[in-house]
Amino acid sequence: MTTETMVRPAVADSGAKRSELLAQRVRAARWFLVPMLVALAIVAGWPLLRSIWFSFTDASLNDLYGAEFIGFDNYLRWQTLESGRTIYRGLLVDDAWWNAVWNTVRFAVISVSIEAVLGIIVALVLNAEFKGRGLVRAAILIPWAIPTIVSARMWGWMLNDQFGIINDIMLRLGLISQKIAWTASTDTAMTAVLIVDIWKTTPFMALLVLAGLQMIPKDIYEAADIDGVHPVKQFFRITLPLVRPALMVAIIFRVLDALRIFDLIYVLTPNSPATETMSVLARENLFDFDNFAYGSAQSTLLFFIIALFTIVYIWLGRVNFDGGDR
């Protein structure tokens, strides 16, 4: 949409008046944007820069202002001993950090993949016409509406080893032979987190995919039916390619969300190295362990990992957020 077309010949009795109006609009637009931009600069831009700055200092929680610049020491520093051995220290050689990175990436990849598949299935169901469709749509909105903390607590109770209903159901069905300590055991902690996350966010995925599905004209399928194309083939040849743009956007929103996950893990599986993610570890260092500068280095690295991922994804996937500049 261009301003030229907005101010069509109706007012264009003279070119001068028209361009004066245009200039006035652009001027007004600038002023309209200022308050928002100032607000964002204060709550996002400045704190981000300060966090990055802290990562190059020796700041501690109680002495933020006395922080001194120490270069890349939080990231990597080394020391050569008299014996000639060199010892490396810092974030880049920290096993706990790389464990957290691995946990986060593993969590993001598995959860988003499963959510995408389930989301498509739910969206296809909701796109079909059947009695009670409104009811189903209402039902899937419930997990989405429940606060993450509440769902972590609800599932924590359901997954309880002694009194949890999940173990009870699985025992009754004969799927397991003894009760599992879902959230406490290191083998199953990640599974527990995945279950809750998938339950909670599949609806979001489904709704975005459904919006994409509803934009596919029905006559394409009619034509395919007449040509005798098998429904499975229809799905892979028609539905999937056409719903791809919507799916790509949904996936990137979900991946970005998954990469910064904090609350679910903090509440469901506290202090478990099997699920500790980058955000959980960084916050622990910042506020619980009094390693403010080191925590800042972790959050800075997290920021750049996510930024890099986003750029690569948008570039490779040619994701179009703007929806066309009509």
């Binding site: 949409m1 261009t2 907005m6 006035q24 609009r25 652009v26 007004a28 637009a29 600038r30 309209f32 944007l33 308050p35 928002m36 607000a39 964002l40 204060i42 709550v43 704190p47 300060r50 966090s51 802290f54 169901v125 059947f130 009670g132 009811l135 189903v136 899937i140 419930i142 429940i146 606060p147 993450t148 903390i149 509440v150 609800m154 599932w155 109770w157 949890g164 209903i165 339950w199 979001f204 975005l208 919006a211 994409g212 956007v249 929103f253 970005l256 910064r260 904090f262 609350d263 955000s279 916050r283 910042l286 506020f287 959050s299 920021f303 996510i306 986003t310 957020f321 703007d322 929806g323």
Partner: protein, 276 residues
């Protein structure tokens, strides 16, 4: 014929599974919240007896009612603030063409997807510097980082879809952009404002990381933090009944709102990008 029936049965079975899986955890939380004493530790699938003990204890002991008020106060104010700043900004972003607009929109989207942990250290410094640590203002201040970009983004998408004609008459009359926003757009935007506001409200209501970090006393905490920190002396004394009662209290209004505004919420959620 038999094949058609099987297909139909399979479809409805799938529908049933989706509904049960979606609703069951919430149902079970409600069921648990009405149990008391040793009943709590007997697994049942249907309500057997109803007791309000958990609700009474959550509402009468501790600071839970205060936490609810904190959450309402913070979420309402942050939404009003975000909408106020977003209306004019999205007018500029959607109806006026200027250099750098695309870049600006991308930046706003990027900020809304920010990993909150990346700004935590810097925000902590700012909040301490402003002297608002451990007050609701710390949360109102920090929540702007996600409510503002979100509202701007959704309202921009909404305003871009309005036809050119609605502005034309006003432009012919020589109305200024400010008048155009107030007289032409505001009346049309109520539905969009309600939807966006509601979604931003839910996001603020559910926020955990900032609330956990920027408040430190029982009376200033918001609901999610209060529920997360409800615990007993040890792992075996977790007050599950109270936790479930508190969870139900804060979730029921939310679920009700979402169900009432179902259609609007779905359209608001999908407006965030899926137009390709």
């Amino acid at each position: 014929m038999a094949w058609a029936y099987t297909k139909k049965a399979a479809f409805y079975l799938l529908v049933l599974v989706i509904v049960v899986v979606s609703v069951f955890p919430f149902y079970y939380a409600i069921l648990t919240s009405f149990k008391s004493g040793t009943d709590l530790f007997r697994i049942t699938y249907w309500p057997t007896s109803i007791s309000f003990d958990n609700y009474l204890s959550v509402l009468n002991q501790g600071s839970f009612p205060r936490n609810v008020l904190n959450s309402i106060f913070v979420s309402t104010l942050v939404v009003v603030l975000a909408l106020f700043l977003a209306v004019t900004a999205s007018f500029a972003l959607s109806r006026v063409r200027f250099r750098g607009r695309g870049l600006l929109l991308m930046t706003i989207l990027a900020v809304s997807m920010f990993p909150q942990i990346a700004v935590l250290a810097g925000l902590f410094e700012v909040i301490r510097g402003l002297g608002i640590y451990n007050t609701p203002w710390a949360l109102i201040f920090s929540y702007t980082i996600f409510t503002l970009p979100f509202t701007v983004w959704v309202l921009t998408t909404f305003m871009r879809d309005l036809p050119i004609e609605i502005e034309e008459a006003a432009i012919v009359d020589g109305a200024t952009p400010w008048v155009i926003i107030r007289r032409v757009f505001m009346p049309l935007m109520w539905p969009a404002l309600v939807t966006t506001g509601l979604l931003a409200f839910i996001a603020a209501w559910n926020e955990f990381l900032f609330a956990l970090t920027f408040t430190s006393s029982n009376t200033t905490r918001t609901v999610p933090v209060a529920i997360a920190l409800l615990s007993g002396g040890s792992q075996y004394e977790i007050p599950w009944g109270n936790i479930m009662a508190a969870s139900v209290i804060v979730t029921v209004p939310l679920v009700a709102l979402v169900l009432i505004f179902q259609r609007k919420i779905v359209s608001g959620l999908t407006a965030g990008g899926v137009k390709g």
